[in-house]
């Protein structure tokens, strides 16, 4: 590999970055809604798994890709409603319920995958769409303009999150519910209803992030396919300081590491075992949490049930 040019691999890595970041962007933006309202959901991993499986199951049974995504979204909303009912109304400890959702997600998708008949040929996943003209620009084209629809969708998603949170009355209420719920209650609004709705909305988006893995990335469901992305999304929220744009940027950084480790695996000689590269995104998660550490920008009433 002496005369190895950096140009092609660089494009490969950067083109993969946004794609690898996409499920994390969905999960982190979704979870940000519920965290902004004061509900911490560490069960993202489980909910992403549920989304990945339900989208896959719908597609196997003949649903078009778009419909499969919508189905995953609805299943995510149901999961969110259960999570929200337990944590917001019954005031069960959010960490415990989150942990339970991770176990539940892993168990239930694994179980259903084994008992169901899903064949082994996989599904037909959505193809990349090349944006006319732009996709032909050298270097930039393949990196930015040759992606599947869900990858492009992260842009309107981030914009929508920003708009809802910072430009609507609902968003204002959500932020109040997470930062000082008593003020929201004093203004005559229901803290619990706002929190519940944020959890349902958030889990729907998280679930779509999971479905991306089976409907746009691979064409198969594998047990534990999410492989830690849900936990990374939690770190991304911290790193992105609970803002949509910050989360987008932090997700891209994680995406870059995913892409890098894939690439490094292909060129590595035996000197460094490939597992070392595989570990990179996870090591980054720990490094980020250590560096950013404090919860200075976190909603002040995160994990605190509302009691008048």
């Amino acid at each position: 590999m002496e005369d190895f040019s950096l140009y092609v691999p660089l494009i490969t890595v950067l083109a993969a970055t946004w794609r690898m970041a996409t499920p994390i962007i969905f999960a982190a933006i979704g979870a940000m809604f519920s965290e902004k309202a004061g509900v911490l959901n560490i069960g993202l991993e489980g909910i992403m798994l549920i989304g990945a499986f339900s989208g896959f199951a719908a597609a196997v049974h003949g649903a078009p890709i778009f419909v499969a995504f919508v189905f995953a979204l609805l299943v995510g909303a149901v999961a969110g409603a259960i999570f929200g009912y337990l944590t917001v109304y019954l005031k069960t400890n959010q960490i415990v319920v989150g942990a339970a959702f991770n176990l539940l997600g892993l168990g239930i998708t694994g179980f259903l995958y084994r008992v169901g008949d899903f064949g082994s040929s996989g599904i037909k996943i959505s193809n990349p769409i090349s944006i006319p003209f732009l996709a032909d620009i050298p270097f930039v084209g393949p990196i930015l303009f040759q992606h599947t629809p869900m990858v492009y969708l992260t842009l309107p998603l981030v914009f929508m999150a920003f708009f809802v949170l910072y430009r609507t009355a609902y968003g204002l209420n959500l932020r109040a519910a997470g930062d000082y719920p008593n003020a929201l209650a004093a203004a005559g609004q229901s803290v619990n209803l706002h929190r519940f709705s944020a959890v349902v909305l958030g889990c729907s988006i998280v679930s779509v992030g999971g479905a991306f893995l089976t409907l746009s990335y691979t064409n198969q469901f594998v047990e534990g396919i999410v492989s830690g992305r849900g936990f990374m999304a939690l770190a991304v929220i911290v790193f992105g300081r609970w803002t949509p744009l910050g989360i987008f940027g932090a997700s891209l950084l994680f995406g870059l590491f995913f892409a890098l480790q894939l690439f490094l695996q292909t060129i590595s000689d035996a000197a460094i075992p490939y597992q070392a590269f595989q570990a990179m995104p996870y090591v980054l998660t720990i490094v980020v949490l250590v560096l950013v550490g404090g919860r200075s920008n976190a909603p002040k009433f995160l994990t605190v049930p509302f009691q008048r």
Partner: protein, 507 residues
């Protein structure tokens, strides 16, 4: 009394909470259009509950409310706001991470609304600020504002929503002395603009400075309404703290034992970092009860916390039998023979879910006979606890039930028993009788006297003058964080003590 001049009448209001606590007992108040009306009373007298009823946060068990001549039912703060009532809470209802304008419109629009009205709201806030001499920066984040500025935001928020009857719940408790002066000016200005204010406080000097009329509450009942122009601080103090006269339980003793506690130049800050205790010096001798009188919030809490190692003093010294303890941690202080009956029983006095026995040995469980090699000797602990609860006539099922099951008075008996059973050199006792019924009060005071007669130096802090007169040998008056005067423990000094309590030497 012509009816239409009253903007508000609350008639025969009673409020009973589940569990039997009566917060308001047949209270009637009348507030005139455009006046500053002070609600005066000690902590727990029922002022805040009465105003919470008016603001729809609580619902009265009995009684009627007439607003602008019409009978109203106020079920929620929202309805109160619609009736043009505004409330400035002691703990501000502001979201620190939002701007002033965002806080003002919070919850006022349907969820789907796009918030494009902020510039207009800001404009209106600036105009209101100009009219009421209450400048605010609508774009500033609330967390970047000082406490005084945040209070302004609360007020302007109420005015923005059209309130012309404002309730202030202990508005000066969070302010610095300089801010207080500005605030009182502002309340007068509101009156000039035709706004009616109800002002909850327990600080007499503020009442005299700003009120038109004053209603005094005590023990959930209304004592009376007086014109500010026709009263004076000592009369108010008497109305506020007076209670059934306690007999003098012990003789006033002079020529008592040696000096046990020597406090010199002690200063300390409160939890907000403001100086609450300034250069306090006094001695307490063996076998002497020194009382600290004063309206609450004048440094008594900080004094007690500093003496027991729970609050770090900023300067000064505390000596017990000549040994410096000002830098010791609470456990070190306790081991020097200092006992503490704290003001906030639930926070510092007992661990509510723990049993009576466990609470009883909370200082001593590490040592024999209560434990051996790190193992608790339950039998010895129970025996010890049974003996003390019998001596103190604690009403309970058995010593192993959670102390949280007991009434306030019985909990206090356990605390006092625990602290005095150690035969302390020095006992710091703050608000001994708070939440304790009259029968138990006398019993507890007699126990304090017993300890005195055994040679303990005792500091008894109370806002109840009668309690101090009943047992104290000397009484010091605290005001504005300083010792404002010293008196012999006899009732003949009541007038003078009342006067001194009412003047703030710091301002």
């Amino acid at each position: 009394m012509s009816k239409h001049s009253n903007i508000l009448e609350m008639r025969n209001i009673s409020k009973r909470f589940p569990g039997g606590v009566v917060a308001n007992n047949d209270v009637t108040i009348e507030v005139r259009q455009g006046e500053v009306h002070c609600l005066l009373g000690e902590n727990g007298a029922g002022k805040s509950v009465l105003m919470s009823i008016l603001y729809g946060l609580h619902h009265a068990s009995d009684g009627e409310i007439f607003l602008r001549g019409e009978k109203v039912k106020i079920a929620s703060p929202k309805e109160a706001r619609n009736l043009r009532i505004g409330m400035v809470h002691q703990h501000f209802m502001l979201v620190p991470t939002l701007t002033v304008a965002q806080n003002v419109i919070l919850g006022q629009y349907p969820a789907g609304t796009v918030l494009n009205m902020i510039p207009e709201v800001s404009q209106k806030l600036v105009e209101l600020g100009r009219r009421f001499k209450l400048p605010v920066d609508p774009g500033a984040l609330v967390m970047d504002l000082t406490v005084g500025e945040q209070q302004r935001v609360e007020i302007i928020k109420a005015l923005y929503h059209g309130a012309d009857l404002l309730i202030f719940d202990e508005p000066t408790a969070v302010l610095t002395p300089k801010e207080i002066a500005g605030f009182l000016d502002f309340v007068r200005h509101l009156r000039d603009e035709g706004i009616t204010s109800i002002f909850i406080t327990h600080k007499l000097d503020e009442v005299i400075a700003v009120a038109d009329r004053i209603t005094v509450l005590r023990d959930a009942r209304k004592i009376g309404t007086v014109l500010a122009a026709e009263t004076d601080p000592s009369e108010l103090a008497r109305m506020m703290v007076g209670r059934d006269v306690l007999m003098k339980l012990g003789d006033v003793r002079h020529d008592v034992g040696e000096v046990v506690v020597k406090i010199n130049g002690l200063s300390a800050n409160n939890s907000r970092g403001l100086e609450a205790l300034s250069d306090v010096s006094f001695d307490v001798r063996a076998g002497e009860i020194v009382g600290i009188a004063g309206v609450s919030g004048n440094g008594q809490s900080e004094l007690c916390l500093a003496l027991t190692g729970l609050l770090e003093s900023t300067s000064g010294s505390i000596q017990i039998d000549g040994e410096e303890i000002a830098r010791l941690l609470p456990r070190g202080v306790a081991e020097k023979g200092v006992a503490h009956v704290p003001e906030d029983r639930h926070k510092l006095g007992v661990i509510l879910p723990f049993s009576i026995s466990e609470n009883m040995v909370i200082h001593q469980f590490r040592k024999e006979p209560f434990s051996k090699m790190g193992r608790l000797l339950k039998k010895n602990i129970s025996e010890y606890s049974r003996a003390l609860t019998t001596e103190y006539r604690v009403r309970m099922r058995d010593t192993e039930q959670p102390i949280g099951d007991l009434s306030g008075g019985n909990q206090q008996k356990v605390v006092v028993a625990r602290e005095l059973a150690r035969n302390p050199r020095f006992a710091v006792i703050n608000q001994l009788t708070r939440g304790v019924d009259i029968g138990a009060i006398e019993f507890l005071l007699k126990k304090i006297l017993e300890a005195r007669n055994k040679g303990t130096a005792i500091l008894l802090v109370s806002t109840e003058l009668e309690e101090l007169f009943a047992v104290c040998d000397r009484i010091l008056v605290m005001s504005g964080g300083r010792i404002a005067g010293e008196f012999d423990g006899g009732r003949e000094n009541l007038e003078e003590i009342g006067m001194l309590m009412a003047t703030d030497v710091a301002s």
